[in-house]
Structure formats: C-alpha cells, structure tokens
Symmetry: C2
Subunit: 463 residues, 2 copies
Amino acid sequence: MKQEKNIPYKIYLEESEMPKAWYNLRADMKKKPAPLLNPETLEPMTAEELGAVFCEELVKQELDTETAYFPIPQEIQDFYKMYRPSPLVRAYCLEEKLQTPAKIYYKFEGNNTSGSHKLNSAIAQAYYAKNQGLKGVTTETGAGQWGTALSMACAYLGLDCKVYMVKVSYEQKPFRREVMRTYGAEVTPSPSETTAIGRKILEEHPGTTGSLGCAISEAVEAATSKEGYRYVLGSVLNQVMLHQSIIGLETKAALDKYGITPDVIIGCAGGGSNLGGLIAPFMGEQLRGEKNYQFIAVEPASCPSLTRGKYAYDFCDTGKVTPLAKMYTLGSGFIPSANHAGGLRYHGMSSTLSELYDQGLLEARSVEQTAVFEAAKMFAQVEGILPAPESSHAIRVAIDEAMKCKETGEEKTIVFGLTGTGYFDMVAYEKFNNGEMTDYIPTDEDLAQGFAGIPKFEGNEID
Amino acid sequence: MKQEKNIPYKIYLEESEMPKAWYNLRADMKKKPAPLLNPETLEPMTAEELGAVFCEELVKQELDTETAYFPIPQEIQDFYKMYRPSPLVRAYCLEEKLQTPAKIYYKFEGNNTSGSHKLNSAIAQAYYAKNQGLKGVTTETGAGQWGTALSMACAYLGLDCKVYMVKVSYEQKPFRREVMRTYGAEVTPSPSETTAIGRKILEEHPGTTGSLGCAISEAVEAATSKEGYRYVLGSVLNQVMLHQSIIGLETKAALDKYGITPDVIIGCAGGGSNLGGLIAPFMGEQLRGEKNYQFIAVEPASCPSLTRGKYAYDFCDTGKVTPLAKMYTLGSGFIPSANHAGGLRYHGMSSTLSELYDQGLLEARSVEQTAVFEAAKMFAQVEGILPAPESSHAIRVAIDEAMKCKETGEEKTIVFGLTGTGYFDMVAYEKFNNGEMTDYIPTDEDLAQGFAGIPKFEGNEID
C-alpha cells in the first residue's frame, strides 16, 4: 500500500483543536436565502409565529442571516467530545483499487449509535429545549436515523422524547424502533390515534402505512397541543445547517493541519443538512473571494430536486401545515417510487443550498441507485466501512471524479462526506446482492404532477 | 461535566505510536498452558497434524510458548490503520451518573463494520492464508461477528471465504448474513447438504436448527476436503490471543502516554480472545514481578465455565472432531438455556486464561443477564454507545466495582474492554425493554450432565 509520507490513514483533531463555534454561512452570502413565509399572509414568518412551534434560541438561529459565528455551549461541546472529532480518512485503499492519481479523503460521520451526522443537530436542539425549561420535544422519523439521534440526545439530557415513526418503517425496521426505545423515547407508529390529524387520516384511509408528511403533522400537533413541548426537525432548516457546520469546520481544520487544499468537495443531498454543513467553511472562503473550490451535490435520479426541480416557494411537508420555503422543489406532493432504497427522498432542499445552486456556486448531479450500490459495495470491500445508501451517492460521484483524474492524469484532491453506516439498510443491500434492484427515473409527466401542487401566487410562477 | 485536566474524553494513539508487534503472553508464564492433545493418541498435537487444518504460520504461532514478540506484517499494519487505533475512552458521563470517585476507562473495539474486536485476528489469519498461496478459508459463525470480520478481511485480500452459519442465526439474523454476502462471502446455513457430516446430521435430525458444534464440523470438513483451503477460528486458540494482544498493547500505550496506572482490568469472557488480548501486556508485567493489578473475567451465570467449570482436557467443539484442550470447561455437550441472549455461550475457555485462573492470577465473576442489560441500557443512555450484550457483561462489573469505590471512597482506576456494538442484537434489547427477559442459572444437575461428557483418561480425572 502506497502511503503518502506524513499523511496518516485517519486524521483526528485533538480535543483542543475542535471547533468552539458553529459557522453561519448565510452571513457571508451577499444575496441571502429567501425568508420563510406564512402561507396565509405570504409575509415573512416572525419570531413569535415560529416560537409557537420551535424553541426560542433555535428561532433566533433560524432567522439570523448576519452573525457569522455562534459559540457552541459548553454542554454541547462536552457531548460532542463523546463521539467527535470524527475522523477525516484518506482513502488509500480505494485509490489503489481505482489506480487513480487523485487523492481521496472522506469525513466519516457514522461512528456513533445514531449511525449518521444527525446527532450533531439533535444534541443542539435538545439542549436549547432543555435550557428553555421544556419538558420534551416531538419529531417524526422515516428511516430512523434522526429519531435515534434525537432519542440519544434526550436520554443524555433527561428530556422527554416523542417520535412519530412512519408506520411502514415502524413495522419494517423494528430494530431502529428498539434502539430509540432503549434510549427511552416513546415511539408511535404514524398515523396514530394519539392526534386529531392522525385519527382523521385513519378514518379516511384505514389501511394507510403512513408517510413522512403525515408524521410531521402529528409531531407538530403533539408539540403544540401539550404544555412544555416543542417540535424539532432534522434537516432542511437553517438552524440545522448551522449545527452541521461542525462537519465542515472539523474537515477544514484537519486539512489545514496537513497543508492540504481540496479541489472538489462532494456530498449527498436530501434536505441538505449534511452537504450544507460539510461545505459551509469552504463555501465561505469562496464567497469572500479567498479560495476557489468545485462543490458537487449528489441526489438520487428518482428524487431529483436540484437537477430537475423548480426554484419556488413551496410547503416543507406533504400535509401543507408548515411555512413556505423558497427552494428547489419537486412539489410537496411528490413521492419517489417505491423501489427507491435509500433516504434522500425529500421533495425540496434547504433554502441556503437552493440559493447557492441558483447562483451557480454549487453543481448538482443525479445518480441511479444500482450504480450507487455498486459503488457502496466496492467501497465496503476495500475501505472496510459499510456505507449507508444515502452516503453512497457521494461515494459514487467521488469514484466517478477519481476515474476522470485517471484519464486526464490530474492529481486532484477530492473530499467527500460519508454521512453514515448502512447496518439498518440490509434489506436494500440484499436486493442488490440478489440482483433484484432496479432503477427508476421519473418521467416529465410524473414531475408535472408534483409541480402542479406548488402554491400559485404573484412572484411564485414556476415557468 | 467535570473533566480532569489534560485527560481527554478519548485517547487516540498516533499512527506512529501503534504497536508493531504482537505480544505472546505465554513467553512470560513460568508454568505454560497445557498443550493440545491428539484425542486418539493423547500425545501433544504436532505441527504437521495441525497443518492439515490450519495455515503453517498460524500453527507456528499456536505452538510457540517462548517467543515474546511476533512482528506484525506490514500489510496487516496497513489494514489495522483503517480502523485502529481504537479509542481508549474516559467514561466521564458514566462516572457522573454513578457519582463515583472511581476513574473509569474503556477500550472501545466496536468502531468497525464487524462491530467487534474479531477483525484483529480475522485479518491476521486471512493474511497468512493468502501468504501461503491458499485460495480461501472456511469458518463457522453463530451470532455473526466473527463471520463478518472474516468476510471483511477476505474481501480486502481477495481471498475466498466460506462461512457456515448456524441455521437458526441464518434465519433470525438475515442482516448479518447480508453483510457477509456484501463482503463477498459464501454463507451456508448449517447443517447443509454441502458436506458429508451435514447430510448425516440432516438425515438423523431433519428439523434441526443447527449448532455451533455442527457448523465447526462442516467448516473443518469443507477446508480439509478441498484443495487450497484451510479452516480458521475466531477465539479460544493461542494464535487468536496473540493477535488480540493489539487491544492490550494499545490500551497500555494510551495509559502510559497520560501517566495512568490502572488498578482493576475487566473483560467479558466467552472463549477468552478479547479478555486475553486486553490483559496480555499488563499480566506480563505482573508475571515479571513489575506491577500488580486486579484482573476480572466476567462470564454469564448461564454459561459459567470459569466459576463453576472443571479444569480438564476436553474437546473444543460439540461434535468432538477437534483436538483436546486443557481448560475450564462445562463439558463440550453443555448448551446454555435458550433464554440466554448474548454470545459468551462457549462451554470452554482459552487454555492460557484457564491456566492463569488456575494459578489465581485472574478472578472470575458470573452475572445474570437482566442485570447485564440494565447496565447496558444505562451505559447507552449516558455514554452514547449501544453496547453488545457480550460487552455489557464487563460494563456490569465495571459499574459494580465503581459503586464499591463510592462506598469506600477509593479513587480506583478501572479499565474495561468494550468489545462491540449491539446493533444486530435488538431482539434481545426488545425483550429487555418489554420486561420479558428472564434469568437462568443452571442447576448442579444441569452441570453434571455436561461434565459427564468430559473424556476420561489417566490424569484427566475431574473430581
């Protein structure tokens, strides 16, 4: 194995080198992301309106587009020390396998029990809830990574945690459910009899297996109808991007420590929290005119928000109970094909990333799932880590870029985000291993149906 | 959170500080562990006899009781760099939760896809097989950690890997099976039609769900009946203890770096590979008269090899196809109650650990499983890591020892081995979460049945 002199397999920061503040990328954006709108008045959401659903401190973070750095409270820093810094890994074995002159690094966020980067924001959101004197928080979860992360954070802080888990996942992923229960969370299959909206949906669709949109509606209702509770969300929001900047800050500190400057930075994108966090400090340099990088967002071809979506105001959920966000969207009614294996099935995209994409500062690629699992399996075999299907989207494009370097002879430095592990995704791997996995690309007609649900008002025309 | 000045949450060695040689504890033992015997001749097994089943280099390691250090081949060192050094974690949060003056550290071996320490020996055994020009290796697996580890090592080296998985696990743990297949292993439910012994067992017991003993027999037959294959084993053997010394060597290097001397060192014990590896360099100091530590082996009350077993020559497998090993044993026919959740269900114990225990250098405790899961759940909630049931035996006793310190006011330094994660053990956690887990302690009559199967010959009297 060729190992570059002085570049270890894994770069770990010392505790003293860990970031002490989160970075708010919006502070360096000249054109800011559009504000959230109240769907009834079409006016920007006020702090008061948001405060009914979210914790006060998080509302401040959500609305602040000027403050560049938010100090990380000591208790959150302490929690981070339990599973962070995460390693920045030099993919020596992958490089050798590909016989590429490219130098590949990945920031691995899967070494914690939630199995992903979600914990970075979960602990922050739980902390502010606790600090506000709340009893607990509610949320929804689909695949279960976010729910697990929030359960862990709440267990640590002694906070009550109610998770509405999409019924089909609740039944098909009993292990995820059980991890959450082990961390003391109350996990309810959604739709449920515990909320008015749940009862209504069950009456109208008795056999339904649930959806993320419905679970959001139930979680919001549970938070707002009970004293001492607030709702928390694992992606899309600006506050989440802020907390996830820890990924990029650590990555940059590790690279700087060894005098490495990346050429290409790649991340998978569902709601955008991981990608936004990874690229934040690098994009900041670019916006301030200090450096120049190539940024690539990777999304599934079956749910192509950036590559085929519309840039418009839309609801954040299927049930249309949330504020309107300006973003690249497939329409809040869009549901990816059932054959879609991984996460990244969100119809929209973080407003900040959407704005960067619109300004041409961020590229986007869409990839098909069999190609993603091919990359995942190759990666697992040579690098040892079994990646989550979501994360494997980034692996796919990192390999593609490295193979381009092989053709051109360029020694590019490629950095990608490996957001998590696939231990709870073995049903999808089994399908792939058995040659039973298929691809799906929505037709223009499929997309048109989703676009038709985007709210129509002056200034929100989509064509 | 009180954090001791200069002691980080996680101590990581630098790459340059990683061990370059394994340590062979037997070299420092004045009274050596008894040799393996050929069950037919009752003479010590020769290298030639062992070479028919195991790789040459591993046979050398197995039989060598004099060489203190075996250099780790560079290719294995490279592989280790992908997931090692493993962190030595200061359990600040657990200490706070317990309000104990004890200082607790754990060596966490679960941050790799096999989910345990098994990978340390899997890569070594696969490497020597490859080096000998073999095509592949065969093995058995129960819970699946060893099979996964071996699959990973073989994928990395491009070696064929055939795993006989106990049928009931194959069916109940499809995810484990699928991880192995993702790493390219051929996984066969045992008993199977692919071997003579498998066909015989199926004919005699058509409905059998298999056993580890039967899977061993099939794996050995598959290795010895096919050109270019050898059999490999994940625990019990001296060679495995040798490879696992990497755990203790890293632990000691990390403690030395911060000037910490442990008082108590605790590990769970099934076949003994983890415990033997963890304590090796510390026990070496003790044997050489340089230091004095308290060593505690923890085993399940339902499978109490050390605390209630006999020290005698016995077969290593249920099928009685292996050589005889002198060890603390419950009899090779002993099978722990079906209600037993975790691993650590082996009837015997490594010869080296057995000899140390017999000499009074090692203590043993047995713990009941509900007490183990209580400890596991508390640990998960405060330390974030969801532990494997096996590892949680060590957590239980570490907590017990820390609580004793609380009573006495002693500031003991406790180190324990956290061998792995419990992501694939959620069925057991579910049982515990639902209050449906029960305990089982074998009666003296139960044990007598097992003891009756211990071979009788001169010098092997058990009472």
